[in-house]
C-alpha cells in the first residue's frame, strides 16, 4: 500500500469515526449537566463515612479500591515487562563508563555544566519532600500515592539530570527497588486480605477513622493504602527510568 492510498483509507475511516462520535455525543447530557447518581451519593456520604476530605482518594482507595488494586498491578507488570524486554541480550556488554580508551568515550558529551548541576541537586531534597507529603496526605488534599510516587521518583531523576548517572545507579540498586516495589504492591493486597480475615468484605475499611476529617490520622485504610501505593509507584518509575537510561551504557560487541 502506498502512503497516498493509506491516507485515503484513513480519511474514509476517520470520517466514519467522527460521524459515530457526533452521533454518540448528541445523546449525552449537555456539558455541565451530569445527572449521574453514583457520584452524587458518594459526594453526600464519603466524608461522613470515611473521614477523608479528599473524595477522589476515597473513591480510589475505598469505594473502587478493587479497581485500584488492578491498576497498581498494571504498573507492576509493566515495570517487570520492561526489564524482561530490555534484558541484556547475547552479544551486548556494559560499557565501562571510565574506560577512556573506548572510542565511544570520546564521543560522549562533555560534562554537565554547573548551571544545571547545582539547581538540579538543590531541588532533589524539596522534590523528595513534596513527593513524601503527597503520598501521605491522600485523605486530605488532591494528592495520593500515585501522584506522590511519581514525584518521589523524579527526585531520583534529578540526580541523573545533574550528570550523576553512576550516583543515580548507586542510590537505586535494582534489588532494593524490586523489594520496595514488591512491598508496596503486596501491602495493598494484604491490607485488603486482612479485612477478609476479620470477616469483612475485601478492602473493607477496618481501621479507626480518627476524629477530624482530613487529618493525617483519619480515614483508616485509605491513608495506609495510599502510602503503600506511593512506595510501589516510586520504585516502579525509578526502575523504568533506570532501565531506559541503562540502555545508553550497553553496546554491541561488534561495535
Amino acid at each position: 500500500m502506498t502512503s497516498r492510498q493509506r491516507l485515503w483509507f484513513f480519511a474514509v475511516a476517520a470520517a466514519g469515526l467522527v460521524a459515530c462520535y457526533l452521533w454518540a455525543f448528541a445523546g449525552l447530557p449537555g456539558f455541565g449537566h451530569y445527572p449521574g447518581p453514583y457520584g452524587q451519593v458518594i459526594l453526600n456520604e464519603a466524608v461522613k463515612q470515611t473521614n477523608a476530605t479528599g473524595v477522589v482518594s476515597a473513591v480510589n482507595f475505598e469505594y473502587r479500591g478493587f479497581d485500584t488494586v488492578g491498576e497498581e498491578f498494571i504498573l507492576f507488570t509493566a515495570a517487570a515487562g520492561m526489564s524482561v524486554v530490555l534484558r541484556k541480550l547475547r552479544g551486548e556488554r556494559e560499557r565501562q563508563p571510565l574506560d577512556e580508551t573506548d572510542s565511544a568515550a570520546a564521543a560522549r558529551p562533555t560534562q554537565t555544566g554547573s548551571a544545571i548541576r547545582i539547581p538540579a541537586l538543590l531541588l532533589v531534597g524539596p522534590t523528595a519532600l513534596i513527593g513524601w507529603w503527597l503520598a501521605s496526605h491522600a485523605q486530605a488534599n488532591p494528592s495520593g500515592g500515585f501522584q506522590g510516587g511519581v514525584i518521589l521518583a523524579s527526585a531520583f531523576i534529578l540526580i541523573y539530570l545533574s550528570g550523576e548517572f553512576l550516583t543515580f545507579r548507586r542510590l537505586s540498586p535494582v534489588a532494593l527497588l524490586d523489594a520496595v516495589e514488591a512491598v508496596g504492591a503486596a501491602g495493598f493486597a494484604v491490607i485488603g486480605l486482612a479485612a477478609v480475615a476479620q470477616g469483612f468484605p475485601y478492602l473493607y475499611n477496618y481501621l479507626p477513622l480518627g476524629q477530624t476529617p482530613g487529618a493525617v490520622s483519619s480515614s483508616g485504610t485509605i491513608a495506609l493504602i495510599s502510602f503503600f501505593v506511593g512506595l510501589e509507584v516510586a520504585a516502579a518509575f525509578v526502575l523504568i527510568v533506570g532501565e531506559l537510561l541503562g540502555q545508553s551504557l550497553l553496546r554491541q560487541r561488534s561495535a
Binding site: 469515526l17 457520584g39 476530605t53 479528599g54 480510589n60 498494571i74 488532591p142
Partner: protein, 114 residues
C-alpha cells in the same frame, strides 16, 4: 456551546490517529498514541463536570458544597497510570526494534517480517 468539550475530544482522537497513520518514526508514533489517549481525560472530565461545581475536596470548604463528579476524576487518575505503563512498555519495544534492525521507521521495519 454545550457540545464544545466533546468536539475537542473528537478532534484530539482524530489528530492523534492521523499522526499514527502518517508517522515514519516509532517514537513519534508512541507520542501520537499518547495524544489519542489524552482525549479520554477531556472526555471523562467533560462528562463529569457540573456547572458551578468545585473540585471534590472538602478540606477547607463546607460539606455539601456543589462539586463535580468524583468518580470520573478517579477514573482519569487510573487512565494516567495506565498510559504511563503502556508508554514505558512501548518505548522499550522501540529500543529493541532499533537494536535489532537498526531503524525506527515502521515502513522499513515492516519489510523485515519477524
Amino acid at each position: 456551546m454545550q457540545i464544545v468539550p466533546f468536539l475537542v475530544v473528537a478532534w484530539v482522537v482524530v489528530a492523534g490517529l492521523y499522526g499514527i497513520v502518517t508517522s515514519r518514526d516509532l517514537i513519534h508514533q508512541i507520542i501520537c498514541l499518547i495524544v489519542v489517549q489524552s482525549s479520554t481525560y477531556v472526555l471523562l472530565l467533560g462528562v463529569g463536570y457540573v456547572t458551578g461545581g468545585v473540585a471534590p475536596y472538602f478540606y477547607d470548604i463546607p460539606l455539601h458544597t456543589k462539586a463535580v463528579d468524583p468518580v470520573v476524576q478517579a477514573l482519569a487518575l487510573t487512565d494516567v497510570v495506565v498510559e504511563a505503563a503502556v508508554t514505558a512498555l512501548l518505548l522499550s519495544f522501540a529500543i529493541q526494534a532499533h537494536k535489532r534492525f537498526g531503524t525506527l521507521d515502521p515502513h522499513e521495519l515492516a519489510e523485515f517480517k519477524g
